[in-house]
């Protein structure tokens, strides 16, 4: 299989590694290593090295867990929706999105393991499963999601691996193995396309279930301001929201460092920006529903937590969250002139920060204010917790970078296919939609 001269640039990151890459990788590796040392300290010393105490039993590890699982909705879900709806502009972005899902899920799961008091006993979940626990469904649905999205990442990768096998200079054996004998025969193509479309449909309900179950971890308890029926959809919306934001940040970086302006165009950022705007509005709607009903109900215990968020010790987090998740993205994205690459990236960064804070203000204030008035604590993450968190983020970026060095981050064959056949197809399709154009209507 040939890669046309035009698309050679997509193979470049795989073939050449710059000094800048090594420096960045070095820095990220150091951060990861510090995080790793911090984790060793926690493993041997116990969770006492964190800022947690009675009654605040969960802190930023659980926040990270929910956050990472949320980000994971970037990939598979968005790419699946775009594939199914035959959005042609998807071709350049699906791969980078799907990679986010697979990698970030590992860190979501990782944070749960970091949070366990006895990580050495984690297999007890398989040995003694207890089916009424939302945590067990969590394990189940996340495992499903990880499996499905890995397959979903791998399938469209096969033709590109075959291109690397025929074209590349390094690791021929490795690519031959992974390419599964791909020769791009019509039959192979047909099977692959079929499998991809099946997987695209399968992953959507799984993705929705994953974040719903994550929300159930909170809402199945009777803790004030957790016990809420809106949590399922609220979390799913938030997840897609933060997922799109993370995807756009990743795309902007890839575009810049690998000079892929020709592939990841302004229009991609513009479209995703509109999607992000829609999600920002939805997010606001859900947040508004949630808080307004609590306020009007004014149950004393809920009000205590409500007030701690609105004016109390968590007000700074809460209002920063509102600014980051709604005000900033809305102002930037609602305006065509600011919905540029730079603008959308700024909005995305704000959303990412805001969504982390959202998770934090859901987890912590409810625990700090339990029903009985005697156990009161404040919670500040310690350096150990911050180091571990930073380590997770660094490791995620490092893994992502490594991926771009092994596989093309933009799907080459899908771009080719777009050029060759879909122009004609789309033309036909649009004709088919319109009355009086003579297109075949089904």
């Amino acid at each position: 299989m040939k890669v046309s001269e035009q698309d050679r640039i997509l193979l470049k990151p795989v073939e050449q590694t710059t000094k800048r890459f090594w420096i960045t990788a070095g820095i990220l590796f150091s951060i990861w290593f510090i995080g790793f040392l911090a984790y060793l300290k926690q493993f041997y010393g116990g969770l006492g090295v964190t800022g947690l105490s009675r009654p605040t039993y969960w802190g930023i590890y659980i926040t990270n867990f929910v956050f990472f699982i949320g980000i994971s909705h970037a990939g598979t879900l968005i790419s699946a929706i775009l594939r199914i709806s035959q959005a042609e502009w998807r071709r350049a972005i699906t791969r980078s999105a799907e990679v986010i899902t697979v990698m970030v899920l590992l860190f979501g799961v990782g944070n749960i393991l970091i949070d366990l008091g006895r990580p050495d006993r984690m297999l007890n979940v398989l040995k003694h499963p207890h089916f009424t626990s939302p945590l067990l469904w969590d394990v189940t649905s996340i495992t499903c999601y990880l499996t499905a999205s890995t397959i979903y990442l791998y399938l469209p990768l096969i033709p590109d691996i075959a291109r690397l096998r025929d074209h590349g200079t390094k690791w021929k054996g490795f690519y031959r193995l992974l390419a599964l004998g791909w020769q791009e025969t019509p039959r192979q193509k047909k099977i692959l396309e079929r499998l991809i479309s099946i997987m695209a449909i399968v992953v959507i309900p799984i993705a929705v279930s994953v974040h719903t179950v994550v929300s159930y971890v909170f809402s199945m308890t009777i803790q004030p301001m957790w016990h809420s029926a809106i949590f399922g959809p609220y979390f799913v919306v938030g997840a897609i929201f933060s997922g799109i934001a993370a995807l756009m940040i990743a795309m902007a970086i890839i575009r810049k460092v690998y000079h892929l302006e020709e592939y990841l165009k302004e229009i991609h950022f513009n479209y995703l920006g509109i999607l992000l705007l829609v999600m920002a509005l939805l997010w606001f709607y859900f947040t508004f529903c949630e808080y307004l009903t609590v306020f009007y109900g004014s149950e004393p215990l809920e009000m205590q937590i409500f007030m701690s968020k609105i004016t109390g010790p968590y007000a700074l987090y809460f209002w920063t969250m509102v600014a980051c998740c709604f005000v900033i993205p809305f102002v930037i994205l609602a305006n065509r002139r600011t919905r540029t690459v730079k603008g959308t990236v700024i909005a995305s960064i704000a959303v990412t920060i805001g969504m982390w804070l959202e998770r934090f203000t859901i987890v912590v204030p409810s625990l700090v204010n339990p029903r009985l008035p005697y156990a009161r604590g404040t919670y500040y993450p310690t350096l150990t917790e911050l180091a571990i968190t930073a380590g997770c983020f660094a490791a995620f970026i490092l893994l992502y970078m490594t991926f771009t060095k092994i596989f093309p981050i933009v799907s080459i064959w899908e771009i080719e296919e777009g050029r060759e056949s879909s122009l004609r197809e789309v033309h036909e399709r649009v004709k088919g939609y319109l009355p009086g154009m003579g297109g075949k209507s089904e």
Partner: protein
């Protein structure tokens, strides 16, 4: 079926905290030091909980001895992913320390905040080590623990009755806190036995359950003050 429960008469309780100490030594709960206490990490399976009502001058403070309430509909057991905490047939909410993975889901689900977590390896003064109770395991770091109504005493009581070839009598099984209480404010027994003292007291007009509206159905029942008996 036996359904173990406890009645705490707030009229009789003088908040002397003897129950706290008895529980501590009966169940091998490591004594907290100042630092651990200030971090909010001291472990107690039973505490005397102060509640405050109203503002000065119409102000009232009440004191509740608060163990795990062994809810009949316990929110904590439902959420445990590994059944490390469970409700036994006789209604005791037990804890399998050797299985708990330390996810602390149960601690966040318990509305009474009575579950404790071992943030670090418990520290024992050397001289206290030999006098630990051999019937109760010493918990490692990273697991959740809580009042078990001294279930080891239930086992012992059963064994004793069997060896002596007789039925169990109430004296065979009394938790440490109940046994020690100098003002006899705590009464323990079978809630399902209409003749037992606890079930008579539970039917009294003074009986109430903590946060009854939650539907957790605690089996530790309080008798409100002002009974006059």
């Amino acid at each position: 079926m036996t359904r173990w429960g406890m009645v705490i008469d707030l009229d009789k309780c003088s908040a002397c905290q003897a129950c706290v100490v008895a529980c501590q030594s009966e169940n091998n709960v490591a004594p907290p030091n100042q630092e651990i206490h200030e971090q909010g990490r001291s472990i107690h399976w039973i505490r005397v909980l102060p509640t405050f009502e109203g503002t000065f001058p119409h102000f009232r403070m009440r004191l509740f001895p608060l163990p795990c309430l062994h809810c009949d509909n316990p929110p904590c057991t439902k959420v445990c992913p590994v059944s490390a905490t469970y409700k036994s047939e006789e209604g005791i909410v037990g804890q399998i320390f050797a299985r708990c993975i330390g996810c602390r889901y149960c601690t966040t689900a318990c509305p009474y905040t009575v579950r404790e977590f071992n943030w670090r390896k418990p520290v024992w003064p050397e001289e206290m080590k030999p006098i630990r109770n051999r019937d109760v395991s010493v918990r490692p770091k990273g697991v959740v623990e809580k009042c078990t109504l001294c279930t080891h005493r239930l086992q012992k009581g059963r064994e004793k009755a069997r060896v002596e070839r007789r039925e169990m009598i109430p004296e065979d099984y009394i938790p440490a806190c109940v046994e020690i209480c100098p003002s006899q404010a705590m009464i323990f027994g079978d809630l399902d036995d209409p003749e037992s003292e606890v079930s008579k007291l539970v039917r009294s007009r003074r009986a109430f359950r903590l946060m009854e509206d939650l539907g957790t159905e605690p089996k530790v029942i309080y008798l409100s003050e002002g009974g006059g008996d």
